[in-house]
């Protein structure tokens, strides 16, 4: 039995909590529970207005053609069904686009110095290509393979044909020289799941509907009231935006 805890979901508000908690060492504040963290005024209630345009849904990296391929692929990886929305509705392809535009796409925090040698699988990725380059090649190859096999681009195929293409990549049946087909598929799959479930601030998990699919409550301050409960406690999710502005 699920139970909701709306209205009592926050046993301790952060504000109250920080005021009451004594992170103090002989009068010295430890860990800096700064006043800047504490909101002094509640924001005005939102006026009832038509839903504003989602300015986040515009491409930073992909071409529209690349986007169509990725969007279609994410939807096969995590399809819409009777449980609720799939990756497309949740904006996973926008998430991936935005990620490739930044540090992650450039492998900015990875060790990318040579020399480059092929290694054992247990030694991890050893290529010189960065994630955005791998996506460029992988997307192109998905269209090439689709065209050779079915005479259409990936996003024009029927769902079961798209699945067959993805499986061919996953199983390395597609032979590529520049990148590993299965390595690309793995990255596509993993980033799709990130796009479904990362905080909406990154462009996916639209309206937190990814979290709702599995009753994940997002960012809550405290679960002291829930932790011992025998019943499943279902609650309305909260995002980091709610946390900053709410």
């Amino acid at each position: 039995m699920a139970q909701t805890n709306e209205g009592q979901e926050q046993a301790v508000s952060r504000r109250k909590f920080l005021k009451n908690s004594g992170l103090v060492l002989g009068g010295l504040v430890v860990g800096g529970v700064a006043g800047s963290l504490l909101r002094t005024q509640a924001p005005p209630p939102p006026a009832a207005a038509p839903a504003p345009a989602d300015f986040n849904q515009a491409l930073m990296y992909f071409s529209p053609e690349q986007f169509r391929v990725v969007d279609a692929a994410t939807e096969r990886i995590f399809p819409e069904d009777e449980n609720g929305p799939g990756a497309r509705t949740l904006g996973a392809a926008y998430f991936i686009d935005h990620q490739l535009a930044g540090d992650w796409g450039f492998n900015a925090r990875d060790y990318m110095q040579g020399p480059f040698y092929p290694g054992e699988a247990t030694q991890g990725y050893q290529g010189r290509l960065r994630r955005r380059e791998i996506f460029d090649i992988g997307i192109q190859e998905m269209n090439n393979y689709s065209t050779t096999k079915y005479g259409k681009r990936f996003y024009e195929l029927e769902a079961d044909q798209q699945d067959a293409v993805l499986k061919a990549f996953e199983a390395d049946e597609v032979k590529l020289t520049t990148i590993s087909a299965s390595g690309f598929f793995k990255m596509l799959r993993a980033s799709t799941m990130e796009g479904v479930y990362a905080d909406p601030l990154y462009g996916g998990n639209k309206n937190m509907d990814g979290w709702r699919l599995k009753n994940y409550p997002g960012n809550q301050m405290a679960y002291t009231q829930v932790i011992e409960q025998d019943q499943f406690v279902k609650m309305e999710p909260k995002s980091l935006r709610d946390h900053q502005h709410g």
């Binding site: 992170l23 247990t122 030694q123 991890g124 990362a198 011992e228 409960q229 499943f232």
Partner: protein
């Protein structure tokens, strides 16, 4: 030419748990200490937006930037070591507080057996029980000798826990009562008791209640927020160096912390260290910091690496077994576990804390008879509820496809219906597992990276299969409707996360022939150089390491103070 700075009593390389404890203990006694930390300053306000799985858990916000420095890895000396280009197997801390900021806080003591592992194994099973190439050795200290220091670290943190019936004796109870129990933990405990095992609440550095430690630092109770491991605690509830030892050291006025200060060499003349050479990474300027005593607290890899780069101590040679720096690198056997699926139960798994769990040690250390087993030591077995976050946790029963409609349905269904019982297996050292300098790959300064040569052995495979079965039995008793048991360990693979419990390389012991440091972590070959951390462990036990790291840091601080007051020389 590097700019030479005024001399201080002690310079510390790296300010995590090890560095923080040494700094607070020595400054309280009036010594002047400079702490050099390559990363940035950290404070509790940094964590206002911390409940962000992508940024912290998957993009490694708080960890070392691998583009500047990483390690290289090979499974044996016949293949070429290659760099760990992105994170996987373990995560390296950086910045003030080090990995202590983003640990879970599971705070276990090692077993009395651990410290005398070689003698006790021979005593019970004979020397033949130790397989060819396994280089287990006694630690040069006993559990009873280390007990008072464990006690100090646990009081510093305020560890919440209850007596473990199968562990070494405690001089005092845990400073705070155990954490709250979740339904899943109760099920584990009941099942374990039915199987005649001895479950106990996991000792936790996430506080069960508000606590004031002996230094006068007060911290609030844990809120079970579910964003603990890989995250900083926005409440200051999780014991970490930034909210405990570092402010205590600073308050003395004797501790100067310099962040963004990357130490590259230990300077020395003859067999005495004279200070360190470091680069201010914000300006590129080089400095020489002279000191009477140098303390390395830069984690396992850089502790060993700085010694090798500075040509201090005798490098280990796996061909002859001689030399000590780099010897006995060990890790952990973490993959032998099981997952249970419960058709008709739903758990509040999004809630949790880093060290919320139930553990048993019936199959750990030498708590069970190994006569008919083909491995030594064992594992702690736990059910932990650390807060299940949605990207990384999508358990599905074996046989389910990895993506698509069926996968989606199963991953949604089981998100709150799957429980893991895991084993944290000990890792025995072998003659051919070691650390040395990589001949090819370099860090951003042009210095050679640390090279790891390591693989799982038959010992580890046997252990993993054994513990996986035990985990499966417990889940069965718990009433799981489907159980997946992971018996196959496979080769050591650097890509999946296992644990950041790397050990060895600068090991302690009773003799300079077989160890690098004595039981005060003082280097045998360089009496004013102390090397603190899990680098000192001659093997790794079936637990998380930090209680033992903390205890040894207190012991080392005592040794350093003694050394500074005395006339020099070795303390042992």
């Amino acid at each position: 030419m590097p700019r030479r700075l005024p001399k201080v009593d002690v310079v510390i390389v790296g300010v995590g748990w090890g560095g923080g404890i040494i700094a607070s203990e020595l400054t309280k006694q009036g010594m002047t200490v400079v702490g050099l930390e390559r990363g940035k300053e950290r404070k509790t306000e940094d964590y206002f937006m911390v409940h962000d799985e992508l940024r912290y858990a998957l993009r490694y916000e708080l960890m070392q930037d691998l583009s500047k420095e990483t390690i290289t890895f090979r499974s044996n000396t016949r293949i070429r070591a290659l760099p760990m280009r992105s994170y996987g197997s373990f995560l390296l801390g950086t910045g003030l507080g080090g990995a202590g900021v983003h640990w879970n806080g599971q705070t276990f003591r090692f077993l009395p057996y651990d410290f005398e592992i070689r003698s006790k194994t021979i005593e019970r099973y004979g020397e033949k029980k130790i397989p060819e190439g396994m280089t287990i050795q006694d630690w040069g200290i006993t559990y009873d000798q280390l007990e008072p220091y464990y006690d100090r670290f646990e009081k510093l943190c305020g560890i919440s826990g209850e007596e473990n019936p199968l562990a070494g004796k405690r001089s005092s109870p845990y400073p705070t009562p155990p954490m709250k129990q979740t339904p899943a933990m109760k099920m584990f405990a009941e099942a374990a008791k039915k199987l005649k095992l001895h479950p106990y609440m996991m000792p936790s550095a996430n506080l069960s209640q508000q606590y004031t430690n002996p230094d006068g630092v007060s911290r609030a109770a844990c809120q079970y927020c579910g964003y603990c491991e890989r995250f900083g605690c926005e409440y200051g509830a999780k014991a970490d160096p930034v909210v405990t030892v570092i402010p205590v050291a600073k308050k003395t006025g004797k501790f100067e912390i310099r962040t963004h200060s990357h130490v590259r060499r230990i300077l020395h003349t003859g067999n005495k260290a004279t200070g360190v050479l470091y680069t201010d990474v914000t300006t590129g300027e080089e400095f020489e910091q002279p000191a009477d005593i140098v303390v390395l607290t830069s984690y396992v890899f850089n502790n060993a690496r700085l010694l090798l780069l500075s040509k201090l101590g005798r490098p280990y040679d796996p061909a002859t077994g001689r030399g000590v720096i780099g010897k006995n690198y060990a890790y952990q056997v973490i993959r032998g576990g099981a997952t249970g699926f419960f058709e008709d139960k739903e758990f509040n798994l999004y809630a949790g804390a880093g060290s919320l769990g139930m553990t048993l040690d019936d199959y750990n250390g030498d708590n069970f008879d190994h006569s008919d087993l083909k491995f030594l030591h064992g594992a702690s077995i736990s059910l932990s509820q650390t807060g299940q976050r949605p990207i990384a946790n999508n358990p599905v029963p074996s046989g389910t496809p990895n993506w698509g409609k069926e996968y989606k349905a199963a991953s949604l269904k089981y998100f709150n219906r799957a429980l893991g019982v895991g084993a944290q297996g000990a890792s025995m050292p072998f003659r051919h597992h070691f650390l040395d300098l990589d001949p090819t790959y370099r860090d951003v300064f042009g210095d050679p990276l640390m090279r790891i040569t390591f693989d799982f052995e038959e010992q580890d495979r046997q252990l993993a299969a054994f513990t996986a079965d035990k985990c499966g039995q417990i889940l069965k008793e718990m009433g799981a409707t489907h159980i997946d048991v992971r018996r196959e360990l496979g080769p050591y693979d650097i890509t999946p996360y296992q644990s950041t419990h790397n050990t060895g390389g600068v090991i302690m012991g009773a003799s300079p022939d077989t160890s690098a440091v004595n039981n005060y972590l003082q280097m045998w070959d360089v009496e004013n150089l102390f090397v603190v951390g899990a680098s000192a462990f001659p093997h790794n036990s079936g637990y998380n390491p930090t209680d033992t790291v903390g205890a040894l840091a207190y012991r080392a601080a005592e040794g350093i103070a003694k050394y500074a007051k005395g006339n020099g020389g070795l303390l042992v």
